[in-house]
């Protein structure tokens, strides 16, 4: 079940990850599982409950199943205006 996904990082996550985007091979099944894997690996401070996730440039449930080639963005609390 290994698939390759594209992850872009913004704001605090970009800084904590140290890069703006990466291609990842993962065996996790959902967006939520992928975030937990990345959080453990990179020490992201924010819990998933504080974030939203976008799959292929649209908001999506955390339970969304990952498919080969998906593009993901984990969205920290917004602060426009």
């Amino acid at each position: 079940m290994k698939k390759t996904v594209h992850v872009r990082y913004f704001a605090v996550l970009r800084e904590q990850r140290g890069l703006a985007e990466e291609k990842l091979a993962t065996e996790t099944g959902t967006a939520a599982e992928l975030y937990e894997e990345l959080r453990r690996r990179h020490g992201f401070a924010l819990e998933a409950g504080r974030l939203r996730v976008a799959v292929n440039d649209e908001f999506a449930p955390w339970t969304t199943a990952l498919r080969e080639g998906d593009s993901l963005v984990f969205i920290p609390p917004v602060a426009g205006g």
Partner: protein, 148 residues
């Protein structure tokens, strides 16, 4: 229309796009970079947006405003990049026949934009630290504020 702009905003040009002889009212909102936030002296800001989704979510907000209020034109533009004190960060303008709808839609758009559109703000403080707004966790500030 909802736009993200890496260039400085031009309110005069933006408002010109709202002109309509059927309109009796035009309400605008400007968000300015201010020199204090939560008691700290601010020196500058960086705004960053997740462009494709920000554009979609912004367009949805404008559609919702059109559904809730009787308006003729709505335009909203959010700046991204490095901003100085006093700079214009966001501009919302609404033309409507009547002022209640102009005010209501303008307020709705800025409130929802701040709550929902994937845009982030990093403040740089006179004290030397900086922080991503709203990203604090229970531990140390999540925004890269140095331990000092």
């Amino acid at each position: 229309m909802f736009r993200i702009s890496p260039e400085p905003l031009d309110p005069v040009a933006l408002q010109r796009q709202l002109r309509d002889l059927r309109a009796g009212a035009c309400a605008t909102f400007e968000g300015w970079v201010r020199n204090r936030n939560d008691g700290q002296a601010v020196l500058a800001l960086d705004y960053e947006a997740y462009g494709p989704l920000a554009g979609k979510e912004g367009a949805r907000i404008l559609d919702e405003a059109r559904g809730k209020f009787s308006v003729l034109h709505i335009l909203a533009v959010h700046r991204v990049g490095s901003l100085a004190l006093g700079d214009l960060a966001v501009w919302v303008g609404v033309a409507a026949e009547h002022r209640g709808d102009a005010f209501g839609a303008c307020r709705y758009v800025i409130d929802e934009t701040k709550a929902r559109v994937p845009i982030w703000k990093k403040e740089h403080y006179a004290a030397g630290a900086s922080a991503w707004i709203n990203a604090a966790t229970r531990g140390p500030a999540a925004g890269g504020a140095p331990p000092a």
